[in-house]
């Protein structure tokens, strides 16, 4: 089951909470940061970002009015 929060923990507090777990927590934060950086730099990700900026694709199979 996916957790759906009614409370926004805030990004800063989420990172602080992770760091409060100790060295292993810091390692996961660094790993996530690295993954995010790599993701942002990958050509596939850049193309997806550019497509999203241009607007929704037409004729993508989404249900239409008729």
């Amino acid at each position: 089951m996916r957790t759906v929060a009614y409370l926004d923990a805030g990004s800063g507090s989420v990172i602080a909470s992770a760091i409060a777990a100790g060295f292993a927590g810091v390692a996961v934060v660094v790993k996530m940061g690295w993954r995010r950086t790599l993701g942002a730099l990958s050509p596939k990700r850049r193309r997806a970002t550019a497509r999203a900026a241009e607007g929704p694709p037409v004729g993508d199979g989404a249900p239409g009015p008729g």
């Binding site: 089951m1 996916r2 957790t3 759906v4 929060a5 009614y6 409370l7 926004d8 923990a9 805030g10 990004s11 800063g12 507090s13 989420v14 990172i15 602080a16 909470s17 992770a18 760091i19 409060a20 777990a21 100790g22 292993a24 927590g25 996961v28 934060v29 790993k31 996530m32 993954r35 995010r36």
Partner: protein, 489 residues
């Protein structure tokens, strides 16, 4: 005892609890003196998963979470239970044990808040071991049943999906920082927490804890780093939390955060161990004869019949609250001095009796209604009506030290409950003389026993009166004119 939460809503419809609305997945209702929690489909599924765990069974058996049972069907009270939002209905209804008297963190002493925080963290540590977490870390998730902390927000538990604990910031703001304020700075937290139900932000706490205080236990990690992270990283936390989960932040790491908080809370100690009131019993001027006569009078008033709820106003070390606890289901012992309340709580926690709830309350400025629409946290007198009120060696403090007119004091005391046992400490008593010494001559000329008795006679029906052997103090047992005490008095 009647309860503010029992006031009916629309005729025949269970009344939503005014403090239960922030989490849309479940909601608490009151009906006919009973407490119900209705859950939507997702929360019902979560509850069934959580209630099947070993941690839950053990916590429930030990009374660490509020006693809860599944009601049969979604409308167990046979009445339409309202749910906001179109086209939706509740999937499951639970019934909870009723809390005898609601109290709030800004009325607890240091040790009470520390014990409530410890309970929250211990439950979470046990829960995380079995893949369960809590949605929040709010101090209002805990109530006291007598001197025992109990976790009441059953809807807060849900299966975890990994990532850091969502309730971390809320826990810091409403549990950890108030405790740090007293432990590290020696400042009582109650008044400040009463003014700000959500507590202080990490950045506000960082501004308070400067210099060498930064080296104190837990400050660098949970205040300074927390504040820096909060200021540098903006945006919503849920996406980041999920991303951390995907990067390998497991329940074990969430446990490590909670375990660290547990360690910090466990080592915090109040810096304020003594006050003028903690030694009051030893410094006040009662003779042994007066004390014995007073105890006999109070005990006879209490023993006349069993009461559901007794208030002891100005309880000090709780000697009379203990007396009341023998003859009542529940006693709420109210005292303005938080250090004295803390000593009483620690003594009750160790030696009992378990049916006394000690609270920090300045009676000249009792807790007001707080929160959304001023209904979320009811004021002191709105929560329940006691069957009997003890006001022993209190009136002279309210009138002379507090400058509240005597008529106002009598009106308030007699309106608070069904019966009143009150002591009038005369103007010639050494304790009153001490209070009058710094007052303008003539300022309290109406502070006389005959005036006090005339005010009492107008307010209620006098059942008994006794002057103590010392000759300066008199006790009265009064009942509301139409109250239950008038029938057996």
């Amino acid at each position: 005892m009647s309860d503010a939460t029992d006031r009916p809503g629309a005729a025949g419809v269970a009344r939503p609890d005014p403090a239960s609305f922030r989490d849309p997945g479940n909601r608490v209702f009151h009906h006919d003196g009973r407490v119900w929690r209705a859950l939507g489909a997702r929360d019902a599924e979560a509850y069934r998963a959580v209630s099947a765990t070993r941690f839950w069974a053990e916590a429930a058996a030990a009374g660490r979470v509020v006693a809860t049972r599944e009601a049969s069907g979604p409308h167990p009270v046979g009445l339409p239970v309202p749910r906001p939002g179109p086209g939706s209905s509740w999937s499951l209804v639970l019934e909870h044990e009723r809390i005898p008297y609601l109290s709030y963190p800004y009325e607890w002493s240091f040790s009470m808040l520390a014990d409530a925080a410890t309970l929250h963290l211990d439950l979470l540590l046990e829960a995380l071991r079995e893949g369960v977490t809590t949605k929040d870390g709010y101090a209002y998730n805990v109530q006291f049943v007598g001197s025992r902390p109990v976790f009441i927000d059953v809807g807060s538990f849900e299966p975890t999906t990994g990532g850091p604990w969502l309730g971390y910031r809320q826990f810091c703001q409403t549990f950890l920082y108030p405790l740090m304020l007293e432990a590290h700075l020696g400042v009582p937290f109650q008044g400040l927490l009463r003014g700000r139900l959500e507590g202080w932000s990490p950045t506000e706490m960082r501004r308070l804890l400067r210099g060498r205080h930064r080296l104190r236990r837990g400050v660098l990690r949970h205040v300074v780093l927390h504040s820096v992270a909060e200021q540098r990283i903006g945006g919503g936390g849920e996406a980041l939390r999920e991303d951390l989960g995907r990067s390998g932040f497991s329940s074990e790491l969430a446990r490590a955060t909670v375990a660290n908080l547990r360690k910090v809370v466990g080592r915090l100690r109040s810096r304020r161990a003594d006050s003028a009131w903690t030694a009051y019993r030893h410094t006040c001027t009662y003779s042994g004869e007066d004390r014995a006569a007073k105890e006999t009078f109070v005990e006879e008033a209490l023993a006349s019949r069993r009461r559901a709820l007794v208030f002891d106003l100005g309880a000090n070390d709780g000697a009379y609250a203990r007396l009341a606890a023998r003859h009542a289901d529940w006693v709420v012992a109210l005292e303005a001095d938080d250090v004295t309340v803390d000593a009483l709580y620690r003594s009750l926690r160790t030696d009992g009796p378990a049916n006394i709830l000690p609270l920090v309350m300045d009676l000249t400025d009792p807790s007001p209604a707080r929160g959304w629409r001023q209904r979320e946290r009811p004021g002191f007198a709105e929560r329940a009506r006691p069957d009997l009120v003890l006001a022993l060696a209190l009136v002279h403090h309210l009138t002379i030290a507090g400058n509240v007119p005597l008529g106002e004091v009598v009106d308030w005391l007699t309106g608070l409950g069904d019966e009143l046992v009150v002591e009038f400490v005369g103007p010639d008593d050494p304790m009153t003389e001490r209070l009058l010494a710094n007052k303008r001559p003539g300022q309290h000329d109406d502070y006389r026993p005959e005036h006090f008795e005339a005010l009492l006679a107008r307010a209620g029906h006098l059942l008994r009166r006794k002057e103590l052997p010392g000759g300066t103090r008199t006790l009265y047992h009064l009942a509301r004119r139409d109250g239950p005490g008038t029938r057996d008095g």
